[in-house]
């Protein structure tokens, strides 16, 4: 049980404790697909979607594990469920909307190893969120992830036209920008309180 208001949960997950910029979750896709705005947006959308689905699943599993008193299976069942959720989502989207599948397809397998998804499941369990809170938490985390991704993509697209010194090209530069973004996001501290 946790009595945080939904608004607080959302702001906290998306801005104050942004998954990427404050918790370093999902850094791999953050570094990998933030080069182009188009892919960044689609990846963000895919992550939001998967987060929502797996948040609901994780909530169910948690209830189940509490019921059968097997907390030690938590991690293993979360990861298995997330992996299979991604697979199911992939197949589902492929069937329902091939266009959407083409847009999201290549990102879905990547999401399996996106630690943000697993972390979301673990955090919501640790914080004792109920179903509605979990869903809002997932929405907040997903939109925060997407926001960070999109901001980074904008800057990186701009930098493609710049004369960046050779030695900082690549991941080093992306990390530095992430650092500055993280500094800027510190401004949101306390906003959700």
């Amino acid at each position: 049980m946790n009595n945080d208001s939904l608004w607080t949960i959302f702001l906290n997950a998306s801005l104050v404790n942004n998954f990427v910029l404050a918790y370093f979750l999902g850094i791999c896709p953050f570094l990998g697909v933030s080069g182009k705005l188009g892919t960044a947006t689609r990846m963000g959308g895919a992550v939001c979607f998967v987060m929502l689905v797996s948040s609901v699943c994780a909530y169910g599993i948690h209830r189940l594990l509490v019921a059968i008193d097997a907390p030690y299976l938590q991690l293993i069942s979360y990861i298995v469920v997330i992996a299979s959720t991604v697979q199911l989502v992939e197949m589902f989207i492929k069937k329902i909307s091939p266009a959407l599948f083409r847009a999201l397809g290549i990102f879905l397998p990547l999401i399996t190893t996106n630690c943000a998804i697993l972390a979301l499941a673990l955090f919501q369990t640790n914080k004792g969120y109920d179903l509605l809170q979990s869903v809002v938490f997932a929405l907040g985390a997903g939109s925060g992830f997407t926001l960070a991704l999109i901001l980074m993509a904008g800057i990186r697209e701009k930098l493609e036209l710049a004369t960046v010194p050779d030695v900082v090209q690549g991941t080093a530069l992306t990390l530095m920008i992430a650092g500055i973004l993280s500094l800027a996001f510190m401004g949101f501290a306390g906003v959700g309180a």
Binding site: D4, N12, N17, Y72, I76, K127, G192, A193
Partner: protein, 231 residues
């Protein structure tokens, strides 16, 4: 995992064998480690909790974890009692009730602050406070954990009850450093106003709920600290 392979479908037996085999091995491993470490972890946790309880209730040497039942009375806590329904009563060497340690949490500057405070019903005051978890800014907000001047606030923070005993008479509040005038005020930390105010807010909220209950039931609490104290 990919279901639709266009090549000749593999015999399914090796797949099942592998998955089930690995699953069994893994399950065995996890369960045996859990069984081996479980008691140690439980002991560690109990020790940590006890230590914290003793710290916020100076003089306590034994503790009893109690839960507020549906009937409005305390009973020994069971394993599945939720944390927010529990208090930890502390008793001195003579088995007398020193006070109760209560866990409380609320939003701080960065994230949720969790803390444990000790309330002594006889003195009608908070007699100790310890931050269990916080993500406050290092060097600034995290002074709520370490700053001696700030912690001194909680050696005797008065929470007097109103005449009917239903609510605190003066709410706990944080004031600017050095301007404390009432015993229910907390001297804030310069530069970490938000964090000190957050602590005050958490205490105010929690004490409003618990203090009348604990005060009313202090006799009952004193009895609970019988032979099973220190569980």
């Amino acid at each position: 995992m990919p279901a639709d392979r266009s090549q000749s479908p593999p015999a399914s037996w090796p797949l099942y064998r592998a998955l089930v085999g690995v699953g069994v091995v893994c399950g065995l491993l996890i369960v045996s480690v859990f069984v081996l470490t479980g008691p140690v972890i439980a002991r560690n946790e109990a020790a940590a909790l006890q230590q914290a309880v003793f710290r916020v209730l100076p003089g306590a040497v034994a503790k009893a974890s109690l839960a507020l039942g549906e009937d409005g009375h305390f009973r020994p806590a069971a394993a599945d009692d939720a944390a927010h329904q529990m208090v930890h009563a502390g008793y001195d060497a003579n088995g007398e009730l020193v006070g109760v340690a209560i866990e409380a949490q609320g939003m701080g500057y960065q994230d949720v602050i969790r803390l444990l405070y000790g309330y002594a019903p006889q003195a009608q005051a908070i007699v100790g406070m310890q931050v269990l978890a916080s993500k406050e800014t290092p060097g600034l907000g995290d002074k709520i954990e370490k700053d001696p001047a700030f912690n001194a606030n909680f050696r005797a923070l008065a929470v007097p009850l109103s005449a009917d005993g239903l609510a605190p008479r003066q709410p706990i509040e944080a004031v600017k450093s050095g301007t404390k005038t009432r015993p229910s005020q907390i001297d804030g930390i310069t530069g970490a106003t938000i964090s000190s105010k957050a602590v005050a807010a958490i205490l105010r909220q929690s004490s409003t709920r618990w203090v009348p209950v604990v005060y009313r039931l202090q006799a009952e609490l004193a009895q609970q600290g019988g032979p099973d104290a220190g569980q």
